[in-house]
C-alpha cells in the first residue's frame, strides 16, 4: 500500500471542489504541518478523563445501567491554550486532534504518533484508521506508558496523518462523524446488533 507524498497531499488539499478536497483545518503554521509523507496534527484542548472511583465495571452489555452510569465514569474537561495537562503514568485519557479533517471519498488515513512523544512513553492512538469520507476531529486515545508524569499542552504537534488512496470510493457512515472534540463510545447503540454475543452474561474473572 503506497502512502501519499507531501506533494500529492498538497495537491489533494488544493483541489477546487470542496467535496474532492482534503481538508485539514486550521493549518495554523504550515511550515511545521508537513513531513515527507504525512501531515502533522496538534493536540486539541478538550479531554475526556476517567473517574474510576465512581464506576465499578465497564460492561457494554449492560443496556440499562451503562448509558446513565457512564456519565459518572467520564468527565469532559477543557484546557485553555497555553495551560498544562499533566498525564500521570498508566493513565488513559481521550483527546482529539485540534484540526478538523475532511477526507475525500478517495482517501483514507492512519493516525501515527510522533516519535518524539513515543520516546517519552506517550502512546497517542490505538484505533488509528480513518475511513474515506470522514469529517471531524479525530479522537485520540492517549496513554502515558512511561515512568514519570508528562505535561501536555493543547496545540502542540502530537501525531501525524499518513494518507492512502483507495481503489474505488468509500464514504464514512460511523457514529463519530462531525465531531468537534473527543467522543466517548456509545456501545448502547449496538446493543440489539450484538445481543447474541451477550447471552448468558456471566462474568469470568481472571
Amino acid at each position: 500500500m503506497t502512502a501519499l507524498a507531501k506533494s500529492q497531499i498538497k495537491e489533494y488539499m488544493e483541489r477546487k471542489s470542496i467535496r474532492e478536497r482534503l481538508i485539514v483545518t486550521p493549518l495554523i503554521d504550515n511550515s511545521e504541518s508537513f513531513d515527507a509523507a504525512s501531515v502533522n496534527v496538534r493536540l486539541g484542548s478538550e479531554f475526556i478523563i476517567m473517574q474510576k472511583q465512581s464506576f465499578p465495571i465497564l460492561d457494554i452489555a449492560d443496556k440499562e445501567g451503562l448509558p446513565s452510569r457512564i456519565e459518572k465514569y467520564h468527565e469532559k474537561i477543557r484546557i485553555n491554550y497555553g495551560e498544562q495537562f499533566v498525564l500521570h503514568p498508566n493513565r488513559l485519557i481521550i483527546g482529539s486532534t485540534l484540526e478538523y479533517i475532511s477526507l475525500p471519498k478517495k482517501l483514507m488515513c492512519y493516525v501515527v504518533g510522533k516519535s518524539s512523544w513515543g520516546r517519552m512513553g506517550l502512546i497517542i492512538a490505538t484505533a488509528t484508521k480513518v475511513d474515506p469520507g470522514f469529517k471531524g476531529c479525530i479522537t485520540l486515545e492517549i496513554i502515558n506508558e512511561g515512568e514519570i508524569p508528562i505535561v501536555l499542552y493543547p496545540g502542540v504537534p502530537i501525531a501525524q496523518l499518513v494518507f492512502h488512496e483507495i481503489i474505488g470510493e468509500g464514504d464514512y457512515t460511523g457514529n463519530y462523524g462531525y465531531a468537534t472534540g473527543p467522543l466517548f463510545p456509545e456501545f448502547s447503540k449496538n446493543y440489539d446488533k450484538w445481543k447474541f454475543w451477550y447471552q448468558g452474561g456471566q462474568i469470568s474473572q481472571y
Binding site: I77, S102, T180
Partner: protein, 493 residues
C-alpha cells in the same frame, strides 16, 4: 434593651463574619475550576477581598461599641452600621452566581474569548464578563459593578486599617459589566449574536444623560398635563375637594410612565440598531427568533419593563438594513447559490411583511401617553442613529465586505466543514471574522428551514442532528479563527 446586649451583638457579628467566610470559601472553590478567560477569576478574587474588608469592618465596628453605655446614640449608629455590612455581604453572596455561571463547562466556551476580544475592540474602557443564566433571556448589567463595589466599601475606609481600597480593587480597576446568556441556548450559536444588542446597551447608555432626560420632560410636560386634565374633565365629581390632589398625582404618574416608555423604548431600539450595524442580517434574524416567542404587538408597560413591541423593533432594524449605503437584500444569485439566495430573500420578505402590519403602532397610538412618548422616540432615534453610525463607522458591517467570502463559508457548512477560514490554497488562507461566521451559519440554516416538516406535516427527525452539527461547526469555526489570529499576532510581534 435585649437586642443591644453584648451577647446578642456578639452572636450577630459572628454570623455576619460566617456569611462572609462562606462567600470566600465558595469563591475559592470556584477558583479551582476551569475558566475560559481571566475575568471571572478577577471577580472571584475581588469578592474574596471585599469580604475580608467587610469582615475587618465588622470587627472594627464591634470594637468601637462602648458597652458601658449601650443606649448611647453612637452605639445605636454602630449597630446600624453592623446591619449595613451584613446587608452588603448578603448582596455579595448573590453575586457569587455570576462567577459560578462563567465556568468553562457552563459556557459556550469556544466563543467566550473571541467575544471578549470583539467587545474589547468596541469598548476598550470597560471589562465585560460573560456568564449563563437559567432565565431565558439575554441581558446586561449596565450598572458599573466596579463602582458599585467601591461604594460598598467606601463608607468603611476610615475604620478599616488592615486593607486599602487600592489593594482590594487591584484586579478590578475598570468599569465592569456582565452579559448573561440563557443556559438553554448554550450551543445555539446563531442566537448568540444577540450579545451585540447587549453591547449596544453599554454603548448607547452614554446617550441618556440628565440633560436629555430633563429636555424630554420639559418638552412633554404640557402635553401630559393636558391629557390628564382632559381625562379628569370627563369624570363625574371632578369638582370634589380632593380633585386637584388626584390630578397632580395622576400627572406625576403619567409623566413617569411617559419617561419610562421613552427611555426604555429608546434604549432597546438604539441597542438593536447598534446590533444591526455590527452584525448585519444575523442580528435581524436572531431578533425575529426571539420575537416569535412573544406577542409582537405587546405595548410597553410596567409588567414588561417597558419593552417596545417586537414588531416595532424589527421595523427599526429593517430600516437600518435597508438604509445602508449598499444593499444587503435581495441576495444576488451570482454570489450565492440559488437555494441560499431564494431562501434568505424569502425570509427577508417575511420580515418586511411582518413590519408592514401596523398593529403595534395602533396600540401605541391608542394610548395617549405612549403616543406622546413614542413620538419623541421616533425623533430621537433618527438623531441617535446618525451619531452611532459616525461613532462606529469603522466597525459597521457592509454587504460588499460581508458577502465577499460568504458563499465559501456557507459551502463549507453545507459540506460539514467549519467555516473558519477562506482557504484558497495552503499558503493563501485568511481566517474568517466572527461576524462572517455567524452570518454564514444563519444563511446556511435558513436555506434548509423549510424542510423541517415534510409535505405531509411530519417532523424530520434528522433535522435536530443537522442543527446540532451546524452549531458545533460554527462554534468550532469561531474558536479556530480566533486561535489562528492569536497565533499570527503572537509571532508578528
Amino acid at each position: 434593651m435585649p437586642h443591644r446586649s453584648r451577647e446578642l451583638v456578639e452572636v450577630y457579628a459572628l454570623e455576619i463574619i460566617s456569611r462572609s467566610q462562606a462567600i470566600q470559601e465558595k469563591c475559592k472553590r470556584l477558583l479551582s475550576q476551569d475558566f475560559t478567560s481571566q475575568t471571572p477569576k478577577s471577580l472571584a478574587k475581588t469578592l474574596i477581598s471585599i469580604c475580608l474588608y467587610l469582615e475587618a469592618a465588622v470587627k472594627s465596628i464591634f470594637k468601637s461599641i462602648n458597652w458601658e453605655n449601650v443606649s448611647d446614640k453612637e452605639n445605636e449608629a454602630s449597630l446600624l452600621k453592623l446591619q449595613g455590612v451584613d446587608f452588603r455581604i448578603c448582596e455579595l453572596g448573590a453575586h457569587v452566581r455570576y462567577v459560578d455561571g462563567a465556568t468553562t463547562q457552563k459556557l459556550p466556551w469556544s466563543i467566550i474569548k473571541p467575544i471578549e476580544k470583539y467587545i474589547q475592540s468596541l469598548i476598550p474602557e470597560k471589562t465585560i464578563m460573560l456568564r449563563v443564566q437559567w432565565k431565558h433571556n439575554y441581558s446586561v448589567i449596565t450598572t458599573d459593578i466596579c463602582e458599585l463595589y467601591n461604594d460598598y466599601l467606601y463608607e468603611y475606609k476610615d475604620i478599616v486599617e488592615e486593607y486599602s481600597l487600592e489593594k482590594v480593587f487591584k484586579d478590578f480597576n475598570k468599569p465592569f459589566h456582565i452579559i448573561s446568556f440563557p443556559s438553554l441556548e448554550r450551543k445555539n450559536i446563531l442566537l448568540h449574536c444577540l450579545f451585540s444588542h447587549e453591547i449596544g446597551h453599554l454603548i448607547s447608555n452614554k446617550y441618556f444623560n440628565n440633560d436629555r432626560r430633563d429636555k424630554f420632560v420639559n418638552k412633554i410636560w404640557k402635553r401630559i398635563n393636558d391629557i390628564v386634565l382632559s381625562t379628569f374633565s370627563m369624570v363625574p365629581g371632578q369638582k370634589s375637594l380632593f380633585a386637584p390632589v388626584h390630578i397632580q398625582t395622576k400627572i406625576t404618574q403619567e409623566l413617569t410612565r411617559a419617561k419610562n416608555a421613552w427611555e426604555r423604548g429608546l434604549e432597546e431600539l438604539l441597542s438593536d440598531i447598534i446590533g444591526v450595524l455590527l452584525f448585519g442580517p444575523a442580528m435581524l434574524f436572531s431578533t425575529l427568533e426571539m420575537a416569535i416567542q412573544d406577542d409582537m404587538d405587546r405595548p410597553p408597560d410596567l409588567t414588561n419593563n417597558f419593552y417596545p413591541p417586537w414588531r416595532l423593533r424589527l421595523r427599526e432594524m429593517l430600516k437600518v438594513i435597508q438604509n445602508s449605503s449598499q444593499e444587503f437584500f435581495p441576495l444576488q444569485k451570482n454570489i450565492f447559490t440559488v437555494k441560499t439566495a431564494d431562501s434568505v430573500n424569502k425570509r427577508f420578505e417575511a420580515i418586511k411583511n411582518i413590519v408592514q402590519d401596523e398593529s403595534d403602532r395602533e396600540k401605541i397610538q391608542n394610548d395617549p401617553i405612549l403616543k406622546v412618548a413614542y413620538k419623541e422616540v421616533g425623533e430621537n432615534i433618527v438623531e441617535a442613529q446618525k451619531y452611532y453610525q459616525e461613532q462606529l463607522k469603522d466597525l459597521i458591517i457592509k454587504p460588499s465586505i460581508l458577502y465577499k467570502r460568504m458563499s465559501h463559508f456557507i459551502d463549507r457548512i453545507d459540506n460539514g466543514i467549519p467555516p473558519n477560514a477562506d482557504e484558497n490554497s495552503i499558503d493563501d488562507r485568511e481566517p474568517a471574522t466572527i461576524v462572517e461566521i455567524i452570518n454564514a451559519a444563519w444563511f446556511h440554516k435558513i436555506s434548509w428551514e423549510d424542510d423541517i416538516f415534510n409535505k405531509n406535516g411530519c417532523f424530520d427527525e434528522n433535522i435536530c442532528k443537522k442543527r446540532d452539527i451546524m452549531n458545533r461547526l460554527t462554534l468550532k469555526a469561531i474558536e479556530y479563527a480566533n486561535l489562528e489570529k492569536e497565533y499570527r499576532d503572537y509571532y508578528s510581534k
